[in-house]
Symmetry: C2
Subunit: 520 residues, 2 copies
């Protein structure tokens, strides 16, 4: 190595500081090459996240082409329909007025202090003004860092919401952590639970790829348990127990059981009985239950019952057996009828954890300082909305009902469309925002398709989704991004895009796909 | 293991669903114990984060006591002064009106669509309305997820800001990643660069504890290089080179060199010459430069020059040597005169990275979906503020000047106070929000203090900060949370708290501390 001595530095300084750029400095060392993917953390290289993976990236490129060359892009469509991600406000779902009015005042409290009161009242209903004042009084500025777990005022309010939702079983504010959507909660939990590469996580198949991605980042082991497509994507506790026993006998230490209810990508809802059986497993094996309940408001059929409620009932019946069950339940402002994805609001409730373990979660939250405070406020507005008699109530009610009905009728339209498509099978969506139909293409009848797959290193569902995108602009995610039983193929689509035109395009595309690939 | 068979489940179900709570269910298995810290990821247990660590936690408890028993708490003060964290708006710094007016409209665009235009104009200046309209036109709703790197409109604007700041050297929007404050950027970078426990990270001592905490979480190796307190906390490139050579010879693979400029906790500013020498090190050894430049607006003395600008000049002079230097530079809306910590805005610019490595960062950002979109908008408002002639300009100018002057005069007052305190040494703060004075307590003169430390398992700076908190309510962070040379003791305080009263309390406390512990 050539060491830079102080004389040289002096020379250099004068060259650098005082001469024109045409005079070049002669380096005294040989520069190194930049890093490649072989030089960085292999877990970060290997993790996969299909929701914004290969096909959505192609969609982005096509979209860019359309923007740049609106007249001459040469594509058979003029816009991309993003059915790959549950992002309602990207697809014309309007935000709830109640949320946005309060957030508007929280961002600009001077309006309340210095604005002409009559003028302000002409623009904002009285209960909006009161709520904003009450929040500001308790938390101060939304521009200040809050407590690492989130402002105590919001946590108290969330605890009351949970208590009411669950029929009176008490929730405590110090068990609540405000998070950036639910993703941060998943990240904290999987990080603390990943001891080494033998730490196992039971995840549903199909699953939301955040889980496999985060498990991969933590170099832990995903253990998939199949949801039963033939029985509304229900869980099979016996299979889960067998997986635990098998994996334990192979030295895998199972740390958590992830349950997504209502299901993503399946749109299914668990019964109380399913939930009891999963809690039993957690109790018996000392496994943390991660209940991803972000779609709890998106229910079209059946009823949502929280893990917390059932666990509380079980503890009441049999405290010795259930008091140590460790449950993390997750919620978000991104889904439901809120759809406020970009605002990054969310919370998790931790029950049954030892204080020393909760302290570690607290430390992770502290390292991130706090979740965005406007998102914390939005969570409060979501779980504590206007009540009958409040000035904002009628509009709030009509907006939420309209969004809910829209989602339900879109789900139904898309479901009906899948039912009539040749060689597509589909469960009726009960909740969430997604349908996960089977591409039921029998190899004996689709020789061209399977030979294309073989020759192209693509899977059947990849081919279908790519051709759907290229033919119609509709962007979905192949089932292999979520996990599926071997030799089965699916896709996940949201039912968020408005209108029926895109569904008609899909039906037509499907006919031509069948014509192209099915044996005659 | 007792397997739950289907008959039992049926019995159970009926018990659970239909009987009163007084009838208890008899469990068929022995429940497991909950996890302890021995069962979870040891890196998460071991990571330390002093800014919200031991002493701030005591402060929170005292604060709770004051809130609960305002008349009978028995403490010698009536409020906590949080000088432990750079959180300006917690300490009465007012947000800039320009930011909050635009954000208010972004949250409630219906005001622009449906509100009476004259009324809206009476509350919001014209350029505020125009900016809000322009942002909404480009990004749609702030309630939608943006592109994983952040909305392209904002990234374009940030790239233009960097280009102008750095004298015309071009920045590209596709190199910009919007992040939640700068912490997320640090987390992505350290995560991808941590290959195994032999991955080394050069960090300054003293440093912001986010770095040691994140390195610990990634099970990598922190390698401290000392800043030279006797020379305004400057860097010593020769020492850094020696550290690299020594560590490499011991099998450590040095991945990144972290530089905080302006410094936290030191408040110092690097010279251009310092920066050149650090870039040379990065070029020669192929080490990623992480330039934490979040305090670039907080300059009271000297001049801030970005790493990106100097690197661009060097590339212009000698492209072969410098074109592969990998630089990540970080900025935030939390600091500067903005102080909008709770809004979680930030960005990083990546230059010199291979596309395949940048793709991995993109994937990590995608797994988190996107940073909060209102925080992205705030970043745009910060780097693209009103210009002379715009209606908002006069107020914007007077507010920013007033905050800047306040910070400067508070820094000066506190600095002067430290100068007059017995056995305290202190560099004049040049930037950022912090002072990091030395507690220059000679063991030969402070026998009682050193023997207390020995008997209590506390360090000298711990004792000082605890007694300061308990005596005055002022909450600081002991230097050992940031790192310090052996047998030296410091503390970090922000100079954000308003007024002089707290400084007078500190001076009095210090006198009594000296009286208590210094040999007579």
């Amino acid at each position: 190595m050539l060491r830079v001595n102080s004389r040289l530095l002096t020379t250099r300084k004068s060259q650098f500081m005082f001469t024109s750029n045409s005079l070049r400095f002669l380096a005294t060392f040989k520069p190194a090459d930049p890093l490649t993917t072989h030089d960085i953390n292999p877990q970060t290289v290997e993790a996969k996240y299909a929701v914004r993976g290969k096909i959505p990236i192609i969609a982005d490129e096509l979209n860019e082409l359309i923007q740049k060359q609106p007249q001459s892009h040469g594509l058979p469509f003029s816009k991309i329909i993003n059915a790959n991600i549950g992002n309602p406000q990207q697809l014309e779902q309007r935000p709830l007025t109640w949320y946005r009015q309060v957030l508007s005042l929280l961002q600009y409290p001077d309006l309340l202090k210095n604005g002409d009161p009559e003028t302000v009242k002409s623009l904002y209903p009285e209960d909006v003004i009161e709520r904003a004042q009450s929040i500001l009084k308790h938390i101060g500025s939304i521009g200040a860092y809050s407590h690492s777990q989130g402002a105590s005022y919001f946590r108290q309010s969330i605890a009351e919401f949970i208590t009411n939702r669950d029929g009176g079983y008490v929730s405590h504010a110090n068990n609540i952590f405000l998070t950036s959507g639910a993703s941060t909660a998943v990240s904290y939990l999987l990080q603390i639970l990943s001891v080494n590469e033998n730490s196992g996580f039971l995840i549903p198949i199909p699953q939301y790829p955040l889980y496999t991605a985060t498990i991969a980042l933590n170099n832990a082991k995903p253990i998939g348990y199949y949801l039963d497509e033939s029985n509304h994507w229900s869980t099979n506790p016996q299979e889960i127990r067998e997986l635990i026993e098998t994996n334990q006998s192979q030295g895998i230490n199972i740390k958590a059981l992830v349950v997504i209810n209502p299901g993503n990508p399946t749109g299914a809802i668990l019964s109380s009985q399913d939930i009891i059986e999963l809690i039993d497993i957690a109790a018996e094996y000392g496994i943390v239950l991660i209940a991803d309940e972000v779609y709890q408001e998106n229910i079209f059929k059946g009823k949502f019952v929280s893990f917390k409620k059932i666990l509380s009932e079980l503890i009441e019946q049999d405290p010795q057996t259930y008091k140590h069950v460790q449950l993390a339940s997750l919620h978000s402002t991104s889904k439901g009828v809120s759809g406020e994805c970009g605002q990054r609001g969310g919370y998790m409730e931790l029950v049954g954890f030892k204080p020393e373990v909760k302290d570690v979660v607290f430390k992770l939250a502290s390292i991130n300082l706090c979740s965005v405070v406007s998102g914390q406020a939005l969570m409060e507005l979501m779980i504590n909305p206007p009540q009958e008699g409040d000035p904002s109530y009628p509009l709030y009610k009509s907006e939420t009902e309209s969004i809910h009905n829209d989602l339900e009728s879109r789900a139904e339209s898309l479901y009906q469309a899948f039912l009539q498509m040749e060689d597509i099978k589909c469960n009726k969506p009960m909740g969430a925002m997604y349908i996960f139909p089977t591409l039921d293409f029998d190899p004996a009848q689709y020789h061209k398709l399977y030979s294309r797959a073989k020759n192209s290193n693509l899977q059947i569902d990849d081919i279908y989704c790519i051709e759907l995108l290229e033919g119609t602009g509709i962007c979905c995610v192949p089932g292999n991004g979520f996990g599926q039983k071997p030799n089965t193929y699916h896709l996940r689509t949201t039912f968020l895009p408005p209108g029926k035109e895109w569904i008609d395009k899909w039906i037509n595309f499907h006919k031509s796909f069948i014509k192209k690939y099915k044996d005659e």
